[in-house]
Symmetry: C2
Subunit: 495 residues, 2 copies
């Protein structure tokens, strides 16, 4: 099997952190923290470099890159821009394979001299066969290799590749989707893109066997034609979701300050995505929600008929409004389905129209309800609340607060919450498989304990159940998935 030319940068052995700060208060200290958190030094060499220290966080610290043990594959540059050219010379001398410049204050400033400094550094590296990430970026997150650029990233690898022109946005995506149970094959924050650019990364993603879903945050395409070709190759074979920053004049001006990007028009970008079969997310929330959509059974939605089960009368009214506003439908249930529901659902205070507002029959009744609803002909997807222990003081006139659980020792409490999350997501996954109709879970923040909510989201994603914080976001995502699939006509069916 031939490997992609970029492959080696994702799987380095020894890494040197050059310019690791002596103070814990320095922002860039976070790189060391993140690598230690992933256990990098236990698997490979990890060499901090700073002439003012001999030791940092239990690791030996070297005066210069040239003093580190041979070989070093990857360098993370935390040095100021003015000394970066000297570090480049040392990289060439040391024979490293790749360098990531957290170092900023180069081409993105718009200063002609600094643009020239960056250009010459990249030329020097290229001549020596060294690939560069950045400058002005956070670099690499590759859980399989133990690489990370922020604390709190999941250590387990997954199937989503993230390509980002912004480090902060990459962090938001990894933390945010990580909390919802998504795991990553790799993420690259590439900043100014002086060497490795978006099109190289889409090209890589297309053939990376570890990557099944691709998502990206892009401010400006540096090379429009190559970018289009790479996105096309990628989106032909993998669901590809792209958020474009700098859509408005104000945003474009900010993008120019940020990465020196010329943002280009949203119409051109939208047209590129359409032709390529990729999907342009309109907002960061959309990006997150669409990744959840294609990573779960939600992607199999085949029509606009939504059933909403549970949540209370007024909630049902606003939810029906939200679903209809998103362009989906809330069809009445057929009489036969209603008759089956009325066998065990009393009349008062509940509705067996759609939305179905009932909690009759307890958990068993709920499962029975969900099954009957999913089997009804006009229903293409079921949105419902998972059956989780409720938070004390959660909406609803009462019911037993989980007081008993609160008195358990912490480990048992955790175990019990995990069991509840696994059971609730497992039940929905089973219904999804049995009926062939996607189930979508709602997780209204106030209703379940914070930690229980996260456990459920993660269990749900792992079980193939999409989970959204509001009906509005669930319906919007489902509608977008249908639009996207319709637009891909003529391309391979990916979902």
């Amino acid at each position: 099997m031939s490997t992609h030319p970029l492959d080696p940068i994702f799987h380095p052995r020894a890494v040197a952190l050059v310019g690791v700060p002596s103070s814990d208060n320095d922002m860039s200290r976070g790189f060391l923290t993140a690598l230690l958190e992933q256990g990098y030094e236990q698997e490979h060499g990890l060499y901090p470099v700073n002439p003012k220290m001999t030791e940092v966080r239990g690791l030996r610290c070297y005066p210069t890159l040239l003093d580190t043990p041979d070989p070093v594959d990857h360098v993370i540059s935390l040095v100021p821009a003015r000394v970066a050219p000297e570090l480049v010379e040392q990289c060439v001398q040391k024979g490293v394979r790749s360098i990531h410049f957290f170092t900023a204050g180069l081409a993105e400033t718009g200063d002609p001299e600094l643009i020239e400094v960056e250009r010459r550094m990249i030329e020097r590296l290229r001549d020596a066969g060294i690939r560069a990430i950045g400058p002005n970026c956070m670099g690499l997150y590759v859980p399989r290799s133990g690489l990370a650029f922020m604390g709190g990233f999941p250590t387990e690898p997954g199937n989503v590749m993230l390509i980002s022109q912004s480090g902060a946005n990459a962090g938001d995506i990894i933390h945010g989707l990580g909390r919802r149970g998504v795991r990553f094959s790799k993420a690259v924050s590439f900043g100014n893109g002086a060497d490795v650019r978006a099109h190289d990364l889409f090209d890589y993603a297309a053939s990376d066997p570890d990557t099944e879903i691709v998502t990206a945050y892009i401010e400006g395409a540096q090379d429009g034609r190559k970018m289009f070709e790479a996105v096309k190759r990628c989106a032909a074979v993998k669901p590809t979701i792209i958020l474009k920053g700098g859509l408005t004049a104000a945003g474009a001006r900010a993008a120019n300050s940020h990465t020196g990007s010329l943002a280009g028009s949203v119409q051109i970008f939208e047209a590129m995505c359409r032709q390529a079969g990729a999907y342009r997310a309109e907002t960061m929330d959309d990006l997150h929600d669409l990744v959840i959509g294609v990573a779960t059974g939600a992607r199999h939605i085949r029509g606009r008929g939504v059933a909403l089960v549970g949540g209370g009368g007024g909630f049902a009214v606003l939810s029906a409004d939200a679903i209809a506003t998103a362009g989906l439908e809330v069809p009445p249930l057929p009489e036969a389905s209603k008759a089956r529901l009325r066998e065990f659902i009393p009349l008062a205070g509940t509705s067996v129209n759609n939305p179905i507002d009932t909690n009759a029959g307890g958990p068993e009744g709920m499962l029975r309800t969900l099954g009957i609803v999913a089997e009804a002909a006009p229903i293409d997807v079921v949105i419902t609340n998972p059956m989780l222990p409720r938070q004390p003081g959660a909406p609803g006139p009462g019911g037993p607060p989980p007081a008993a659980a609160d008195e358990l020792p912490p480990e048992e409490h955790d175990e019990r919450m995990q069991r509840a999350a696994d059971r609730a997501s497992g039940q929905l996954a089973e219904l999804q498989t049995e009926t062939g109709v996607p189930f979508v879970a709602l997780l209204r923040g106030r209703e379940v304990e914070g930690d229980a909510a996260d456990r459920f989201q993660q269990a749900a994603t792992a079980a193939g159940i999409a989970c959204y914080p509001t009906v509005h976001r669930a319906a919007r995502t489902l509608a977008q998935l249908m639009v996207w699939r319709a637009r891909r006509e003529g391309l391979p069916a990916l979902f």
Copy 2:
């Protein structure tokens, strides 16, 4: 001072809970829990009624309403619909002042017989001078009186009155806004509105000295002309925000199942709000966000020029897009302001254009930056992140995680978080007062510890600083406040 005819129902002395369930698992047990949580029985009489029990939660339980000690002002009916008429007779005999029917399964079912049962009960009560809330609703939350209908409601009174045709939505609003620091004068979930209706409650709100802001969730106006007149009286003197459920055909159908409401057209409702000077919230999030807006200094926004300070480059790009999309502007700072900022902000990796992306100079530098930005001529409002201890693993390349704080004993940890929240909100409030420019705080969930975030939101609202979870929601709310104020031309200036 003359009191409003509805006033007595908000200030009962003894309350009887008729039909309090014998099982903790019954939903309606929550009413007893909520009243005990507010300490109702310590201030007034609280009499559970159920012939099958002699004691419940430490309170004496009576066989019938007629067995309770004299006098009883307010009855909460948890009995099934079929025995409700008998309870009505007992209420007349006992001489109570008001009754709230949690009892459902009456007119909202659409069944002609049940509609007639409801009509006759209400007629009987009216003839006896007894006011009725409901049926099919959650009733009253009056923190000053110790009345509540769900657990977890704030015990302190405030200045917002909520009028809701849905109990679940009322719960969402009280919990959600309560968590953001809003406090309520009273809330009424009035369900079918057989006696007390929306127009009575708007009329009450207009003259209630405890109420400064009014918000409502309405499915259908039962008496369009009276409703319009009451909303007009109310909105003339107090900011009035109304969310209408049943905007779409699907929502209207759900509203009809829920409260038997005929939803009416959104155009008519919108026109009514405009003419009255009220504001129609489009979604539940909008309702929450607008209440925060009018409850804080955000209501004083005088123009469209937004400055965004902090958050990282890619975040700044998406934020500028969100602000511009909401119809506001992100004007470049004047050269003089930029020069003042450049005195202490280095060039690399930061921007003193607007958005201003810097954390130069630590907390002192941030305050200096905020002051300079607010004083710039084109700036009408400043959106920024509060200076709070960051969560471990929060976005940003690192910085010291609050490890030291985590090792403190819980009380000291709580105290420290509270101090941090008070300080951060106090600093913004001081800047707001000094510069005359509204400051709006962002609270991105992942960035600060859960509990610290809630403490900050509450401290901020109390200090008059609006706090929103995203730039999108902040900008949308500010734009709506400006539209609303422009539409109120000719009416008294309320904000």
